[in-house]
């Protein structure tokens, strides 16, 4: 794995935010109907494929990890986040992390962007001064996050739990709509890298992960549709044992 120097550049405009950030969309109102595109192509432009390739290879080569990548997206200003397309967010995150990981300076990025704006046909490879690395074999490009167990899981299927109601200013995978809510452990999913630390260079700290079932009425109150449940995969430290029976 290629190791690059740690964070060196400025972050995303000083933003550290994000658990209650704009990306946490579950249950929000006002976005209107789901619009579908007929005969949608795999990519709408070549740069979208480039964005996907850059993220894939950066993850495989260890420039950044998946949690850092997600957190970089979450640090976008909320108005920019909503205005951007999916792959524009990816591009923004790669730029943020390339700078923070010391692979580029903002000035160098801006200089090259100006160059390519002036030389529309130029191949990205033409600026490369070093020998590019050889192609790797194709696979799914997934980096495993499963780790060996170090202790027995605290909960078992059927256990009633209540999720913690926390609002820390860092990356997390406990959505806002499911905080402080009662649910039931559906099953144990193994021990997984903990995003809340892994996104911040604080280590993998693997924890038991559980599929947890929440009744819709617990999440949405009187507005819940009938006969609905939501299943979330939640890390052990998001959960506390609940008394009595959950919905």
């Amino acid at each position: 794995m290629l190791k690059l120097p740690g964070a060196s550049g400025p972050g995303n405009n000083g933003r550290i935010g994000a658990i209650d950030g704009i990306h946490d969309l579950g249950g929000m109102h006002g976005f209107g109907p789901v619009n579908r595109e007929q005969d949608e192509p795999a990519f709408h432009a070549e740069w979208e494929a480039a964005a996907r390739a850059m993220v894939r290879e950066s993850l495989l080569q260890g420039l950044f990890n998946l949690d850092e990548f997600r957190h970089a997206i979450e640090r976008m200003a909320p108005d920019k986040y909503l205005a951007a397309t999916y792959y524009e967010r990816w591009l923004q995150a790669v730029a943020t992390l390339a700078v923070e990981k010391g692979a580029a300076t903002p000035e160098e990025l801006a200089r090259r962007a100006r160059y390519f704006e002036a030389h529309e046909g130029a191949d990205a490879i033409s600026l490369a001064k070093s020998t590019p690395r050889p192609s790797a074999s194709a696979d799914t490009g997934q980096v495993s996050v499963v780790r060996p167990a170090t202790a027995p899981p605290k909960f078992k299927a059927g256990d009633p739990i209540v999720t913690r109601d926390v609002h820390p200013k860092r990356h997390t995978r406990l959505p806002r709509y499911a905080r402080g809510k009662r649910g039931v452990v559906d099953r144990f999913r193994g021990v997984h890298v903990f995003p809340d630390t892994n996104a911040h260079g604080l280590g993998e700290n693997p924890q038991p992960l559980y599929s947890v079932r929440f009744d819709a009425s617990e999440l949405w109150g009187e507005s819940a549709e009938g006969r609905q449940a939501v299943y979330l995969d939640l890390w052990e430290s998001y959960l506390e044992a609940a008394q009595g029976k959950a919905a």
Binding site: G26, G32, V34, A42, S126, Q142, L174, Q228
Partner: protein, 196 residues
């Protein structure tokens, strides 16, 4: 590329190329990385592995059991190494739906690239809180007696729906069944229909 969207922001394109050139120099990107991605997704379109797994599960109860309880082994039989998939089965009592509210996680090794609507704020915000209303917009009315289970991909587990085998397709062989199975059915926003 063939299908390039007409509205390409010049600033975005040059910024992407700037990043590309830097990552090439750093040895993170290989010269053919982008082409390989394009080739992979433009030729490999559609829910290839997902559809094959479902069709086999419909004709082979042992395989179905394996797909539901040990998807890694089931997918390996089809030649795919993929360890994080959970397959959830639709029945007359339970309809499953997959979403990722926090970003747009999606089991792309089995389904291909996600459609834009899956990644859009309307779907991400509404699928967890009003799935029946969303499904109705997709033309799917779920009966009141059927429970709707929404799987919000909050960790690295990925979800795929095993749809109900359509009535009228009982006699079809596996390779014909594969062709009936759409991406949307494997996300849970559609059912599978026997060909007319």
């Amino acid at each position: 590329m063939g299908k390039i969207h007409p509205n390409v922001d010049k600033y975005v394109v040059s910024r992407a190329r700037a990043l590309e050139s830097i990552l090439l120099e750093k040895g993170i990107l290989a010269p053919d990385s982008v082409d390989r991605i394009v080739k992979q997704y433009e030729s490999d379109t559609g829910p290839m592995y997902g559809a094959r797994a479902v069709a086999r599960a419909w004709v082979n109860p042992t395989y179905k059991q394996k797909l539901l309880t040990n998807s890694t082994a089931a997918l390996a039989e089809l030649g795919l190494k993929y360890e994080m998939l959970v397959v959830v089965e639709n029945t007359a009592q339970v309809h499953n739906l997959v979403v990722c509210t926090l970003c747009s996680c999606y089991p792309w090794p089995v389904l291909g690239l996600p459609p834009t609507w899956y990644k859009s704020p309307p779907y991400r915000s509404r699928a967890v809180s009003e799935p029946r209303a969303v499904l109705k917009e997709f033309g799917l009315e779920i009966s009141e007696s059927c429970e709707v289970r929404v799987w919000d991909s909050s960790a690295e587990m990925r979800y795929m729906v095993l749809p109900i085998r359509p009535p009228g397709a009982e006699a079809l062989p596996e390779d014909r069944l594969v062709k009936l199975i759409t991406r949307d059915a494997l996300i849970g926003v559609a059912t599978v229909h026997a060909a007319q």
